[in-house]
Protein backbone atom coordinates (compact mmCIF):
# COMPACT_ATOMS: atom_id res chain seq x y z
CA UNK A 1 0.00 0.00 0.00
CA UNK A 2 1.63 3.27 -1.04
CA UNK A 3 1.78 5.80 1.75
CA UNK A 4 0.29 8.74 -0.10
CA UNK A 5 -2.10 10.84 1.94
CA UNK A 6 -3.97 12.32 -1.08
CA UNK A 7 -7.39 10.95 -1.89
CA UNK A 8 -8.45 10.78 -5.53
CA UNK A 9 -10.65 13.78 -4.83
CA UNK A 10 -7.65 15.76 -3.49
CA UNK A 11 -5.69 14.94 -6.64
CA UNK A 12 -8.56 16.00 -8.91
CA UNK A 13 -8.95 19.28 -7.05
CA UNK A 14 -5.25 20.02 -7.27
CA UNK A 15 -5.15 19.23 -10.99
CA UNK A 16 -8.15 21.48 -11.55
CA UNK A 17 -6.55 24.31 -9.58
CA UNK A 18 -3.45 24.29 -11.77
CA UNK A 19 -5.38 23.59 -14.96
CA UNK A 20 -3.93 20.20 -15.85
CA UNK A 21 -6.25 17.53 -17.30
CA UNK A 22 -4.54 14.55 -15.64
CA UNK A 23 -1.37 13.50 -13.84
CA UNK A 24 0.43 12.52 -17.04
CA UNK A 25 0.05 16.10 -18.27
CA UNK A 26 2.42 17.18 -15.46
CA UNK A 27 5.19 15.19 -17.10
CA UNK A 28 4.47 15.95 -20.76
CA UNK A 29 7.68 17.96 -21.13
CA UNK A 30 9.63 14.69 -21.02
CA UNK A 31 10.28 13.79 -24.70
CA UNK A 32 8.20 10.81 -25.77
CA UNK A 33 11.20 8.91 -27.07
CA UNK A 34 12.69 8.83 -23.57
CA UNK A 35 9.65 7.19 -22.03
CA UNK A 36 9.69 3.44 -21.45
CA UNK A 37 6.35 1.84 -22.19
CA UNK A 38 6.89 -1.39 -20.34
CA UNK A 39 9.53 -2.75 -18.04
CA UNK A 40 10.19 -6.19 -19.47
CA UNK A 41 11.90 -8.44 -17.01
CA UNK A 42 10.45 -6.73 -13.95
CA UNK A 43 8.03 -9.27 -12.50
CA UNK A 44 4.53 -8.48 -11.30
CA UNK A 45 4.05 -7.29 -7.76
CA UNK A 46 4.06 -9.96 -5.08
CA UNK A 47 2.34 -10.13 -1.74
CA UNK A 48 4.35 -9.49 1.41
CA UNK A 49 4.04 -13.13 2.41
CA UNK A 50 5.25 -14.37 -0.98
CA UNK A 51 8.18 -11.98 -1.16
CA UNK A 52 9.30 -12.85 2.36
CA UNK A 53 9.28 -16.51 1.42
CA UNK A 54 11.25 -15.82 -1.77
CA UNK A 55 13.86 -13.76 0.05
CA UNK A 56 14.30 -16.39 2.76
CA UNK A 57 14.84 -19.04 0.10
CA UNK A 58 17.37 -16.88 -1.70
CA UNK A 59 19.19 -16.03 1.54
CA UNK A 60 19.38 -19.72 2.41
CA UNK A 61 21.18 -20.34 -0.91
CA UNK A 62 24.10 -18.34 0.44
CA UNK A 63 24.55 -20.94 3.14
CA UNK A 64 27.21 -20.16 5.69
CA UNK A 65 30.37 -20.67 3.69
CA UNK A 66 33.85 -20.42 5.11
CA UNK A 67 35.03 -17.14 3.59
CA UNK A 68 38.62 -16.35 2.62
CA UNK A 69 37.71 -13.53 0.23
CA UNK A 70 38.79 -9.99 1.01
CA UNK A 71 39.61 -7.78 -1.96
CA UNK A 72 38.22 -4.64 -0.38
CA UNK A 73 35.56 -5.92 2.03
CA UNK A 74 36.60 -7.95 5.04
CA UNK A 75 34.83 -10.36 7.37
CA UNK A 76 35.60 -9.27 10.91
CA UNK A 77 34.02 -10.11 14.22
CA UNK A 78 31.39 -7.51 15.07
CA UNK A 79 30.63 -7.50 18.80
CA UNK A 80 26.91 -8.07 19.42
CA UNK A 81 26.67 -4.77 21.26
CA UNK A 82 27.58 -2.77 18.15
CA UNK A 83 24.31 -3.26 16.31
CA UNK A 84 22.25 -3.60 19.50
CA UNK A 85 23.26 -0.02 20.28
CA UNK A 86 23.29 1.29 16.70
CA UNK A 87 19.71 0.16 16.11
CA UNK A 88 18.32 1.90 19.19
CA UNK A 89 15.67 4.39 18.20
CA UNK A 90 17.89 7.33 19.16
CA UNK A 91 20.54 6.33 16.61
CA UNK A 92 18.54 4.50 13.99
CA UNK A 93 18.12 7.36 11.60
CA UNK A 94 20.76 8.25 9.05
CA UNK A 95 19.18 11.61 8.42
CA UNK A 96 21.45 14.62 8.54
CA UNK A 97 21.29 16.46 11.86
CA UNK A 98 20.81 19.96 10.49
CA UNK A 99 18.86 21.00 13.55
CA UNK A 100 21.61 21.12 16.15
CA UNK A 101 19.32 21.82 19.12
CA UNK A 102 17.45 18.56 18.50
CA UNK A 103 20.41 16.40 17.47
CA UNK A 104 23.09 16.67 20.13
CA UNK A 105 23.47 12.89 20.50
CA UNK A 106 23.84 12.30 16.76
CA UNK A 107 26.23 15.22 16.43
CA UNK A 108 28.36 13.97 19.30
CA UNK A 109 28.51 10.50 17.75
CA UNK A 110 29.82 11.93 14.48
CA UNK A 111 32.25 14.14 16.40
CA UNK A 112 33.63 11.08 18.23
CA UNK A 113 33.85 9.22 14.91
CA UNK A 114 35.81 12.07 13.34
CA UNK A 115 38.16 12.12 16.33
CA UNK A 116 38.89 8.40 16.06
CA UNK A 117 39.38 8.45 12.28
CA UNK A 118 41.77 11.40 12.45
CA UNK A 119 43.76 9.56 15.15
CA UNK A 120 43.91 6.40 13.04
CA UNK A 121 45.02 8.22 9.90
CA UNK A 122 47.29 10.72 11.66
CA UNK A 123 45.70 13.70 9.91
CA UNK A 124 44.03 16.85 11.24
CA UNK A 125 40.40 16.73 10.17
CA UNK A 126 37.81 14.17 9.13
CA UNK A 127 34.47 14.71 7.45
CA UNK A 128 31.33 12.97 8.63
CA UNK A 129 31.87 10.13 6.05
CA UNK A 130 31.06 9.41 2.41
CA UNK A 131 29.27 6.59 0.57
CA UNK A 132 32.03 4.03 0.25
CA UNK A 133 35.73 3.59 -0.39
CA UNK A 134 35.46 3.90 -4.16
CA UNK A 135 33.48 7.14 -4.18
CA UNK A 136 35.77 8.44 -1.42
CA UNK A 137 38.68 8.13 -3.87
CA UNK A 138 36.64 10.01 -6.49
CA UNK A 139 35.96 12.77 -3.97
CA UNK A 140 39.61 12.84 -2.91
CA UNK A 141 40.62 13.26 -6.56
CA UNK A 142 38.20 16.13 -7.08
CA UNK A 143 39.34 17.69 -3.82
CA UNK A 144 43.02 17.44 -4.76
CA UNK A 145 42.36 19.16 -8.09
CA UNK A 146 40.46 21.99 -6.35
CA UNK A 147 43.07 22.43 -3.63
CA UNK A 148 46.28 22.05 -5.64
CA UNK A 149 45.83 25.07 -7.86
CA UNK A 150 49.48 25.27 -8.87
CA UNK A 151 49.22 22.25 -11.16
CA UNK A 152 46.70 22.39 -13.96
CA UNK A 153 47.30 19.01 -15.63
CA UNK A 154 44.25 17.38 -14.04
CA UNK A 155 46.29 14.17 -14.09
CA UNK A 156 46.16 11.84 -11.13
CA UNK A 157 48.72 9.06 -10.99
CA UNK A 158 47.64 5.83 -9.36
CA UNK A 159 50.05 3.37 -7.80
CA UNK A 160 49.62 -0.08 -9.40
CA UNK A 161 48.04 -1.37 -6.21
CA UNK A 162 45.01 0.93 -6.29
CA UNK A 163 41.83 -1.15 -6.38
CA UNK A 164 40.78 -1.31 -10.08
CA UNK A 165 37.14 -0.93 -9.11
CA UNK A 166 37.96 2.29 -7.24
CA UNK A 167 39.65 3.57 -10.38
CA UNK A 168 36.57 2.80 -12.46
CA UNK A 169 34.26 4.59 -10.03
CA UNK A 170 36.62 7.57 -9.71
CA UNK A 171 36.93 7.84 -13.50
CA UNK A 172 33.14 7.67 -13.86
CA UNK A 173 32.59 10.43 -11.30
CA UNK A 174 35.60 12.69 -11.90
CA UNK A 175 36.40 11.82 -15.51
CA UNK A 176 33.75 14.15 -16.91
CA UNK A 177 35.44 17.09 -15.18
CA UNK A 178 38.68 16.92 -17.13
CA UNK A 179 40.44 14.71 -14.59
CA UNK A 180 42.39 11.75 -15.91
CA UNK A 181 43.79 8.75 -14.06
CA UNK A 182 46.99 7.03 -15.11
CA UNK A 183 48.71 4.02 -13.60
CA UNK A 184 52.33 4.00 -12.50
CA UNK A 185 54.26 0.95 -13.67
CA UNK A 186 54.37 -2.16 -11.47
CA UNK A 187 57.50 -3.95 -10.36
CA UNK A 188 56.72 -7.56 -11.25
CA UNK A 189 58.76 -8.96 -8.35
CA UNK A 190 57.23 -6.97 -5.49
CA UNK A 191 53.89 -5.96 -7.03
CA UNK A 192 54.60 -2.43 -5.87
CA UNK A 193 55.32 0.72 -7.83
CA UNK A 194 58.36 0.28 -10.06
CA UNK A 195 61.62 1.83 -8.86
CA UNK A 196 61.86 4.08 -11.86
CA UNK A 197 59.27 6.85 -11.68
CA UNK A 198 58.20 9.04 -14.62
CA UNK A 199 59.38 12.63 -14.73
CA UNK A 200 57.12 14.07 -17.40
CA UNK A 201 53.65 13.62 -15.93
CA UNK A 202 53.10 16.76 -13.84
CA UNK A 203 50.63 14.98 -11.59
CA UNK A 204 48.22 17.07 -9.55
CA UNK A 205 48.02 14.17 -7.12
CA UNK A 206 49.40 10.68 -6.60
CA UNK A 207 47.12 8.05 -5.06
CA UNK A 208 48.76 5.24 -3.12
CA UNK A 209 46.83 2.28 -1.74
CA UNK A 210 48.46 0.71 1.31
CA UNK A 211 48.16 -2.20 1.81
CA UNK A 212 47.70 -2.46 -1.94
CA UNK A 213 44.76 -4.19 -3.57
CA UNK A 214 47.16 -7.06 -4.29
CA UNK A 215 48.04 -7.28 -0.60
CA UNK A 216 51.54 -5.84 -0.83
CA UNK A 217 53.03 -3.02 1.24
CA UNK A 218 54.24 -0.06 -0.80
CA UNK A 219 57.28 2.06 0.01
CA UNK A 220 54.95 4.88 0.98
CA UNK A 221 57.70 7.19 2.24
CA UNK A 222 59.54 7.16 -1.07
CA UNK A 223 56.36 7.68 -3.12
CA UNK A 224 55.08 10.44 -0.85
CA UNK A 225 58.35 12.37 -1.02
CA UNK A 226 58.58 11.83 -4.77
CA UNK A 227 55.07 13.24 -5.25
CA UNK A 228 55.67 16.22 -2.98
CA UNK A 229 58.94 17.09 -4.74
CA UNK A 230 56.83 17.53 -7.89
CA UNK A 231 54.22 19.68 -6.21
CA UNK A 232 51.65 16.87 -6.32
CA UNK A 233 49.35 16.07 -3.43
CA UNK A 234 49.34 12.60 -1.94
CA UNK A 235 46.10 10.68 -1.57
CA UNK A 236 46.41 7.69 0.75
CA UNK A 237 43.92 4.85 0.35
CA UNK A 238 44.10 2.80 3.51
CA UNK A 239 42.44 -0.07 5.32
CA UNK A 240 41.45 1.24 8.78
CA UNK A 241 42.20 -2.08 10.52
CA UNK A 242 45.73 -2.08 9.13
CA UNK A 243 46.40 1.33 10.67
CA UNK A 244 46.63 -0.30 14.09
CA UNK A 245 49.92 -1.79 12.82
CA UNK A 246 51.11 0.28 9.87
CA UNK A 247 52.36 3.86 9.72
CA UNK A 248 49.48 6.36 9.57
CA UNK A 249 49.21 8.34 6.29
CA UNK A 250 49.82 11.58 8.19
CA UNK A 251 53.35 10.34 8.86
CA UNK A 252 54.24 9.08 5.39
CA UNK A 253 57.46 10.56 4.08
CA UNK A 254 58.77 13.95 5.16
CA UNK A 255 55.45 15.78 5.10
CA UNK A 256 52.74 13.13 5.31
CA UNK A 257 49.88 12.40 2.93
CA UNK A 258 47.56 15.32 2.20
CA UNK A 259 44.34 13.34 2.05
CA UNK A 260 43.52 9.88 3.36
CA UNK A 261 40.45 7.93 2.35
CA UNK A 262 39.20 4.40 2.23
CA UNK A 263 36.53 1.85 2.92
CA UNK A 264 35.21 1.93 6.47
CA UNK A 265 33.41 -1.42 6.30
CA UNK A 266 36.02 -3.35 8.34
CA UNK A 267 35.03 -1.24 11.36
CA UNK A 268 31.89 -3.00 12.54
CA UNK A 269 29.91 -3.18 9.31
CA UNK A 270 28.88 -6.71 8.19
CA UNK A 271 29.66 -7.87 4.64
CA UNK A 272 25.91 -8.20 3.86
CA UNK A 273 26.30 -8.96 0.14
CA UNK A 274 28.19 -5.75 -0.62
CA UNK A 275 26.62 -2.92 1.27
CA UNK A 276 25.71 -0.49 2.63
CA UNK A 277 29.26 0.42 3.63
CA UNK A 278 30.82 3.82 4.26
CA UNK A 279 33.78 5.79 2.99
CA UNK A 280 36.00 7.85 5.23
CA UNK A 281 38.12 10.87 4.42
CA UNK A 282 40.61 12.92 6.41
CA UNK A 283 43.02 15.66 5.40
CA UNK A 284 45.54 18.21 6.58
CA UNK A 285 44.03 21.31 8.15
CA UNK A 286 45.18 23.53 5.29
CA UNK A 287 42.96 21.66 2.78
CA UNK A 288 39.82 21.62 4.92
CA UNK A 289 37.91 24.19 2.84
CA UNK A 290 38.04 21.89 -0.14
CA UNK A 291 36.90 18.83 1.75
CA UNK A 292 33.47 17.58 0.63
CA UNK A 293 30.68 16.90 3.05
CA UNK A 294 30.27 18.25 6.53
CA UNK A 295 32.33 18.44 9.67
CA UNK A 296 30.91 18.37 13.19
CA UNK A 297 32.64 20.47 15.82
CA UNK A 298 32.55 20.91 19.57
CA UNK A 299 31.73 24.34 20.89
CA UNK A 300 30.47 26.20 23.94
CA UNK A 301 26.98 27.66 24.14
CA UNK A 302 25.90 30.98 25.69
CA UNK A 303 25.68 29.35 29.12
CA UNK A 304 29.22 27.98 28.86
CA UNK A 305 28.04 24.41 28.28
CA UNK A 306 29.70 22.06 25.82
CA UNK A 307 27.67 21.46 22.70
CA UNK A 308 28.11 20.01 19.21
CA UNK A 309 27.35 21.71 15.95
CA UNK A 310 27.75 21.54 12.19
CA UNK A 311 31.04 23.42 11.96
CA UNK A 312 31.71 23.25 8.26
CA UNK A 313 28.88 22.96 5.79
CA UNK A 314 28.95 26.25 3.88
CA UNK A 315 30.13 24.49 0.74
CA UNK A 316 27.46 21.85 0.84
CA UNK A 317 24.86 21.24 -1.80
CA UNK A 318 21.92 22.64 0.14
CA UNK A 319 23.66 26.01 0.44
CA UNK A 320 25.91 26.19 -2.55
CA UNK A 321 23.88 24.25 -5.13
CA UNK A 322 25.88 23.58 -8.28
CA UNK A 323 28.98 25.18 -6.70
CA UNK A 324 29.04 22.70 -3.82
CA UNK A 325 32.35 20.92 -3.26
CA UNK A 326 30.54 17.69 -4.06
CA UNK A 327 27.19 16.59 -5.38
CA UNK A 328 27.28 13.58 -3.10
CA UNK A 329 27.73 15.30 0.20
CA UNK A 330 25.57 13.19 2.38
CA UNK A 331 27.06 10.86 4.96
CA UNK A 332 26.47 7.24 5.91
CA UNK A 333 25.09 8.06 9.34
CA UNK A 334 24.05 4.60 10.47
CA UNK A 335 27.24 2.86 9.30
CA UNK A 336 29.31 5.57 10.97
CA UNK A 337 27.35 5.08 14.18
CA UNK A 338 28.18 1.37 14.08
CA UNK A 339 31.84 2.09 13.33
CA UNK A 340 32.06 4.55 16.21
CA UNK A 341 30.58 2.03 18.61
CA UNK A 342 32.87 -0.69 17.21
CA UNK A 343 35.98 1.43 17.69
CA UNK A 344 34.86 2.46 21.18
CA UNK A 345 34.25 -1.15 22.20
CA UNK A 346 37.43 -2.70 20.83
CA UNK A 347 39.63 0.31 21.54
CA UNK A 348 43.02 0.84 19.97
CA UNK A 349 44.50 -2.26 21.63
CA UNK A 350 41.55 -4.33 20.48
CA UNK A 351 41.97 -3.09 16.92
CA UNK A 352 45.65 -3.95 17.15
CA UNK A 353 44.76 -7.47 18.30
CA UNK A 354 42.38 -7.82 15.34
CA UNK A 355 45.10 -6.64 12.97
CA UNK A 356 47.79 -8.88 14.51
CA UNK A 357 45.62 -11.96 14.57
CA UNK A 358 44.54 -11.37 10.96
CA UNK A 359 48.17 -11.08 9.93
CA UNK A 360 49.12 -14.23 11.84
CA UNK A 361 46.21 -16.20 10.39
CA UNK A 362 47.08 -15.09 6.87
CA UNK A 363 50.70 -16.09 7.46
CA UNK A 364 49.61 -19.52 8.63
CA UNK A 365 47.34 -19.85 5.60
CA UNK A 366 50.02 -18.78 3.14
CA UNK A 367 52.61 -21.13 4.64
CA UNK A 368 50.17 -23.98 4.30
CA UNK A 369 49.05 -23.09 0.78
CA UNK A 370 52.51 -22.53 -0.64
CA UNK A 371 53.61 -25.90 0.77
CA UNK A 372 51.15 -27.48 -1.69
CA UNK A 373 52.36 -28.49 -5.11
CA UNK A 374 51.12 -26.02 -7.71
CA UNK A 375 50.71 -23.01 -5.39
CA UNK A 376 53.19 -20.15 -5.08
CA UNK A 377 53.16 -16.54 -3.97
CA UNK A 378 52.88 -14.05 -6.82
CA UNK A 379 54.98 -11.37 -5.11
CA UNK A 380 57.83 -11.22 -2.65
CA UNK A 381 57.78 -9.01 0.40
CA UNK A 382 55.69 -8.06 3.38
CA UNK A 383 51.89 -8.15 3.53
CA UNK A 384 49.13 -7.35 5.99
CA UNK A 385 46.23 -9.82 5.89
CA UNK A 386 45.87 -10.57 2.22
CA UNK A 387 48.21 -12.26 -0.26
CA UNK A 388 48.16 -13.01 -3.98
CA UNK A 389 48.92 -16.65 -4.85
CA UNK A 390 49.34 -18.27 -8.24
CA UNK A 391 47.95 -21.70 -9.07
CA UNK A 392 49.16 -24.13 -11.71
CA UNK A 393 45.80 -23.93 -13.51
CA UNK A 394 42.95 -21.45 -14.12
CA UNK A 395 41.54 -20.11 -10.88
CA UNK A 396 37.83 -20.08 -11.75
CA UNK A 397 37.33 -23.84 -11.80
CA UNK A 398 39.32 -24.31 -8.60
CA UNK A 399 37.24 -21.72 -6.76
CA UNK A 400 34.11 -23.43 -8.02
CA UNK A 401 35.30 -26.77 -6.69
CA UNK A 402 36.00 -25.12 -3.33
CA UNK A 403 32.56 -23.49 -3.34
CA UNK A 404 31.05 -26.94 -3.80
CA UNK A 405 32.70 -27.78 -0.48
CA UNK A 406 31.15 -24.64 1.06
CA UNK A 407 34.44 -22.71 0.99
CA UNK A 408 34.88 -19.30 -0.61
CA UNK A 409 38.54 -19.85 -1.28
CA UNK A 410 39.64 -16.49 -2.62
CA UNK A 411 39.16 -13.69 -5.11
CA UNK A 412 39.93 -14.50 -8.74
CA UNK A 413 42.40 -11.90 -10.03
CA UNK A 414 42.46 -13.17 -13.60
CA UNK A 415 39.76 -10.90 -15.07
CA UNK A 416 41.35 -7.77 -13.56
CA UNK A 417 45.03 -8.69 -13.85
CA UNK A 418 45.43 -11.15 -16.75
CA UNK A 419 49.19 -10.50 -16.79
CA UNK A 420 49.57 -12.12 -13.38
CA UNK A 421 48.51 -15.51 -14.73
CA UNK A 422 46.40 -17.88 -12.63
CA UNK A 423 46.36 -15.54 -9.64
CA UNK A 424 43.95 -15.11 -6.76
CA UNK A 425 43.82 -13.20 -3.49
CA UNK A 426 43.38 -14.98 -0.18
CA UNK A 427 42.71 -13.43 3.20
CA UNK A 428 42.27 -14.92 6.68
CA UNK A 429 41.00 -12.43 9.24
CA UNK A 430 40.80 -12.95 13.01
CA UNK A 431 37.49 -14.77 12.47
CA UNK A 432 39.31 -17.85 11.16
CA UNK A 433 40.47 -20.60 13.49
CA UNK A 434 43.43 -22.87 12.83
CA UNK A 435 40.91 -25.56 11.95
CA UNK A 436 39.23 -23.28 9.38
CA UNK A 437 42.57 -22.54 7.79
CA UNK A 438 43.44 -26.22 7.64
CA UNK A 439 40.11 -26.93 5.93
CA UNK A 440 41.03 -24.62 3.05
CA UNK A 441 44.59 -25.94 2.78
CA UNK A 442 43.42 -29.56 2.78
CA UNK A 443 40.58 -28.92 0.35
CA UNK A 444 42.76 -27.03 -2.11
CA UNK A 445 45.42 -29.77 -1.87
CA UNK A 446 42.83 -32.41 -2.69
CA UNK A 447 41.34 -30.46 -5.57
CA UNK A 448 44.74 -29.77 -7.12
CA UNK A 449 45.75 -33.43 -6.68
CA UNK A 450 42.46 -34.66 -8.21
CA UNK A 451 42.98 -32.47 -11.24
CA UNK A 452 46.49 -33.83 -11.64
CA UNK A 453 45.23 -37.39 -11.41
CA UNK A 454 42.66 -36.79 -14.14
CA UNK A 455 44.95 -35.02 -16.56
CA UNK A 456 47.75 -37.57 -16.14
Amino acid sequence: MPFIPHTEKDTEEMLEAIGAPDLDALFDEIPKNLLIESLDGVPDAMSEMAIKRLMQERAAQDGAPLCFIGAGAYEHHVPQAVWDIATRGEFYSAYTPYQAEASQGTLQTIYEYQTMITELTGLDVSNASLYDGASALAEAALMAVRANRKIKSGRILLAPGVNPTYEKVAAAIAGTQGITFERLAMDSVTGNTAAELPDDKEPVAVAIQHPSFLGTLEDVDRLTDWAHERGAYVIAIVNPTSLALLKAPGHWGEAGADIACGEGQPLGVPLSSGGPYFGFMTCKQQHVRQMPGRIIGRTTDLDGQTGFTLTLQAREQHIRRSKATSNICTNQGLMVTAATIYMSLVGFHGLRSVACRSHQNTTRLIEGLTALEGVERVFEGAYFHEVAVRLDRPVGAVLEALANRNILGGFDLQPMYPDLGNAMLVCATETKTDADIDILITALGEILAEGKGRSA
Binding site: R149, K150, R289, A314, I319, R320, K323
Partner: protein, 131 residues
Protein backbone atom coordinates in the same frame (compact mmCIF):
# COMPACT_ATOMS: atom_id res chain seq x y z
CA UNK B 1 21.11 51.93 5.52
CA UNK B 2 24.36 50.74 4.01
CA UNK B 3 27.26 52.94 3.14
CA UNK B 4 27.80 53.73 -0.58
CA UNK B 5 30.93 55.68 -1.61
CA UNK B 6 30.27 57.99 -4.55
CA UNK B 7 33.59 57.42 -6.35
CA UNK B 8 33.02 53.71 -7.07
CA UNK B 9 31.18 51.70 -9.71
CA UNK B 10 28.92 48.83 -8.74
CA UNK B 11 27.48 45.61 -10.12
CA UNK B 12 24.17 43.84 -9.70
CA UNK B 13 26.15 41.07 -7.93
CA UNK B 14 26.81 43.54 -5.09
CA UNK B 15 30.43 44.12 -5.93
CA UNK B 16 32.28 47.44 -6.27
CA UNK B 17 35.24 48.48 -8.36
CA UNK B 18 37.58 51.41 -8.08
CA UNK B 19 39.72 52.72 -10.93
CA UNK B 20 43.21 53.15 -9.49
CA UNK B 21 45.71 55.72 -10.78
CA UNK B 22 47.86 52.99 -12.34
CA UNK B 23 44.99 51.91 -14.62
CA UNK B 24 44.15 48.77 -12.61
CA UNK B 25 40.82 48.27 -10.88
CA UNK B 26 40.36 47.19 -7.27
CA UNK B 27 37.39 44.94 -6.64
CA UNK B 28 35.51 44.10 -3.47
CA UNK B 29 32.01 43.39 -2.23
CA UNK B 30 29.62 46.06 -1.01
CA UNK B 31 28.63 46.93 2.54
CA UNK B 32 25.17 45.55 1.73
CA UNK B 33 26.68 42.21 0.63
CA UNK B 34 28.89 41.82 3.70
CA UNK B 35 25.95 42.63 5.99
CA UNK B 36 23.74 40.10 4.21
CA UNK B 37 26.35 37.31 4.24
CA UNK B 38 27.49 37.79 7.83
CA UNK B 39 30.88 37.18 9.45
CA UNK B 40 33.47 35.99 6.96
CA UNK B 41 35.60 33.04 7.94
CA UNK B 42 37.53 32.32 4.76
CA UNK B 43 38.41 33.89 1.43
CA UNK B 44 39.60 31.84 -1.53
CA UNK B 45 41.70 34.09 -3.76
CA UNK B 46 42.72 33.61 -7.39
CA UNK B 47 46.35 33.25 -8.48
CA UNK B 48 48.18 36.40 -9.57
CA UNK B 49 48.51 36.26 -13.34
CA UNK B 50 45.25 34.41 -13.81
CA UNK B 51 43.02 35.72 -16.61
CA UNK B 52 39.47 36.55 -15.66
CA UNK B 53 36.42 37.04 -17.80
CA UNK B 54 33.61 39.44 -17.03
CA UNK B 55 30.87 37.50 -15.25
CA UNK B 56 33.12 34.54 -14.46
CA UNK B 57 34.10 33.26 -11.00
CA UNK B 58 37.13 34.96 -9.55
CA UNK B 59 37.15 34.36 -5.79
CA UNK B 60 35.00 32.76 -3.09
CA UNK B 61 34.04 34.43 0.17
CA UNK B 62 32.82 32.11 2.88
CA UNK B 63 30.84 33.35 5.82
CA UNK B 64 29.32 31.47 8.73
CA UNK B 65 26.17 31.25 6.62
CA UNK B 66 27.29 30.53 3.07
CA UNK B 67 30.08 30.36 0.53
CA UNK B 68 29.52 32.85 -2.29
CA UNK B 69 31.34 33.50 -5.54
CA UNK B 70 32.92 36.83 -6.34
CA UNK B 71 32.56 37.45 -10.06
CA UNK B 72 34.93 39.40 -12.27
CA UNK B 73 33.18 42.64 -13.30
CA UNK B 74 35.58 43.18 -16.22
CA UNK B 75 37.79 41.13 -18.53
CA UNK B 76 41.44 41.24 -17.52
CA UNK B 77 44.31 39.72 -15.58
CA UNK B 78 44.71 39.44 -11.81
CA UNK B 79 47.69 41.62 -10.79
CA UNK B 80 47.35 41.53 -7.02
CA UNK B 81 45.31 39.70 -4.39
CA UNK B 82 44.68 40.79 -0.83
CA UNK B 83 46.69 38.12 1.00
CA UNK B 84 45.96 39.77 4.34
CA UNK B 85 42.43 38.36 4.06
CA UNK B 86 43.80 34.83 4.54
CA UNK B 87 44.42 35.59 8.22
CA UNK B 88 41.77 38.25 8.71
CA UNK B 89 38.79 37.55 6.45
CA UNK B 90 36.59 39.64 8.78
CA UNK B 91 38.33 42.74 7.39
CA UNK B 92 35.71 42.52 4.62
CA UNK B 93 33.04 43.00 7.29
CA UNK B 94 34.76 45.88 9.04
CA UNK B 95 36.06 47.80 6.02
CA UNK B 96 34.44 46.53 2.80
CA UNK B 97 35.50 49.49 0.63
CA UNK B 98 39.02 49.90 2.05
CA UNK B 99 41.24 47.25 3.63
CA UNK B 100 38.65 44.67 2.67
CA UNK B 101 39.39 44.87 -1.08
CA UNK B 102 39.75 41.40 -2.60
CA UNK B 103 41.45 41.50 -6.00
CA UNK B 104 43.18 43.98 -8.30
CA UNK B 105 42.72 43.38 -12.01
CA UNK B 106 44.48 44.91 -15.02
CA UNK B 107 41.55 45.37 -17.40
CA UNK B 108 41.94 44.09 -20.95
CA UNK B 109 41.01 47.14 -23.02
CA UNK B 110 38.49 49.81 -22.14
CA UNK B 111 36.06 49.22 -19.26
CA UNK B 112 32.48 49.10 -20.46
CA UNK B 113 30.94 51.48 -17.93
CA UNK B 114 27.52 50.90 -19.43
CA UNK B 115 27.63 47.38 -18.00
CA UNK B 116 28.34 48.73 -14.51
CA UNK B 117 26.22 50.79 -12.12
CA UNK B 118 26.66 54.28 -10.77
CA UNK B 119 26.14 54.76 -7.01
CA UNK B 120 22.63 56.08 -7.73
CA UNK B 121 21.72 53.13 -9.93
CA UNK B 122 23.04 50.68 -7.32
CA UNK B 123 21.10 52.51 -4.59
CA UNK B 124 17.99 52.06 -6.70
CA UNK B 125 18.69 48.33 -6.93
CA UNK B 126 19.03 48.13 -3.15
CA UNK B 127 15.77 50.04 -2.70
CA UNK B 128 14.01 47.63 -5.05
CA UNK B 129 15.40 44.62 -3.20
CA UNK B 130 14.20 46.08 0.09
CA UNK B 131 10.75 46.78 -1.30
Amino acid sequence: MSELPGDLLYTSEHEWLRREDDGNVSIGITDHAQAALGDFVYVELPEVGQDVESGGDMAVVESVKAASDVYAPVDGTVVEVNDALADDPETINSDPYGEGWIVKVAPAGEIDEGALMTPDAYQELLDQEDA
